[in-house]
Point group: C2
Chain length 189, copies 2
C-alpha cells in the first residue's frame, strides 16, 4: 500500500497508514459493534519522514475509538503480522482443507469428534476468503518466510516422530508450552 500510494500523495498532504487488530470472522458494516475497538490495538505504520502532527492526529482518532496505539516501521509490521495473524490463518484454512479431503466416513468423524483439538485450531478458519486472499498476496514475502520457518519445524518434528526421538519431541512441546504460558501470564489468552 505504501509503495503504491506514496508517489501519488500531493505535497502538503500526509499519508498515515493504520489498521486495527480487531474484528470477528464476519465482514462488512453489519459486523460492526460499538465496543469493537475498545482495548484492542491499532497499528500505525507511517513511512519515514511523515509529519509528526499528522501521525498524532491519526493516533488520537484511534484512541477516541477506544484503541491502544502502537507505531511500527512498515517492513517490521509485515513480519510481525505474518507470524501473529497471517500464518495462523493460513494454517487453519489448510488443516480444514486437509480434513475436507478425507474419504466420507473419516470426514464425518472429524466433525463428530472435533472437540479434541480440531475445533480450537480451526476457530479462525471461518473468516472471509476474499479479504484473506488479498492479505496473503499483499504480504507474500513475510508470509512465505514465516511459513518456511514453520515447515522446517514441522519437518523436524516429523523426523523425530518417525525415528523415535522422545527427547527432541518433549523439548519442542515444552518450548511451545512456554510461549503459550507467557500468553496466559500476559492475559492475552
Amino acid at each position: 500500500v505504501i509503495r503504491d500510494v506514496c508517489p501519488l500523495v500531493p505535497e502538503g498532504v500526509h499519508f498515515v497508514p493504520a489498521h486495527p487488530l480487531a474484528g470477528t470472522e464476519f465482514s462488512g458494516p453489519d459486523a460492526g459493534f460499538a465496543a469493537l475497538f475498545q482495548g484492542r490495538w491499532a497499528l500505525l505504520t507511517p513511512p519515514a519522514g511523515t509529519d509528526p502532527d499528522s501521525i498524532e492526529k491519526i493516533a488520537e482518532l484511534w484512541r477516541h475509538c477506544g484503541s491502544m496505539v502502537s507505531t511500527m516501521e512498515p517492513a517490521h509490521h509485515d513480519r510481525v503480522l505474518a507470524i501473529v495473524s497471517h500464518l495462523p490463518h493460513l494454517i487453519a484454512f489448510t488443516i480444514c482443507g486437509t480434513a475436507d479431503d478425507l474419504e466420507g466416513e473419516s470426514r464425518q468423524e472429524v466433525l463428530q469428534f472435533a472437540a479434541t483439538g480440531f475445533r480450537d485450531i480451526t476457530r479462525i478458519a471461518a473468516s472471509d476468503p476474499v479479504m484473506w486472499r488479498g492479505i496473503f498476496l499483499n504480504n507474500r514475502e513475510a508470509l512465505l518466510e514465516m511459513l518456511a520457518r514453520f515447515m522446517e519445524h514441522a519437518q523436524a518434528m516429523a523426523r523425530a516422530v518417525r525415528w523415535g526421538d522422545p527427547e527432541y519431541i518433549e523439548d519442542k512441546i515444552h518450548r511451545g508450552r512456554v510461549i503459550r504460558r507467557s500468553l496466559i501470564e500476559l492475559k492475552q489468552a
Copy 2:
C-alpha cells in the same frame, strides 16, 4: 496397546480398550472435576472377536460417567484421532516453536499482538509434554500420514501465494470455511 497387551490376556479375561475425548490442558488427578465426562465422547476399540457382554459392560461404565459411547475399529480410530486431535496439537506446538525462534523484539510482539489469530491456534499448546510425546510416538504412522497430507496442502498454498494465484487461494480458503461452518451447524464449535 492392543498389539502388546492382547497376547498377555489369559483365557476368560476380556480386554476392551477405551478412552474419553475429554480433558483440559492440565493433567493428573487434581485436574479432574465431576462433570469432566458429561456429554463428551468415550471411544471403545475392541479387537475383533471381543466378548459382546464385556464391551457392553465397559460402555455402561462410561455412560454412568455421563459419556456418549462410540465403538471403532482400532486402526480406523488411530487415523481419526490423528486428524481431529494429534495433528492439531503437533501444529499448535510447532507454531509456538516457530514464534519462540524469532529474534527478541519480534518474539515480544508475538505475545503483545497474539489476539489476532496466534492466540486461537495455540490454545491447545499448553498440554502436557510427556503425555503428548507418548501419543505422537504411539500413533506414528497415522500421524505422519496426516501431517504429510497437511504439508502437501500447505506447500500448494505457498506456491499459489508465491506465484499469485488468487482463484486457488480463494477456493482453498472457501473449502476450509465450509468445514468450519459445518462444525458450527453441528454445534461442535
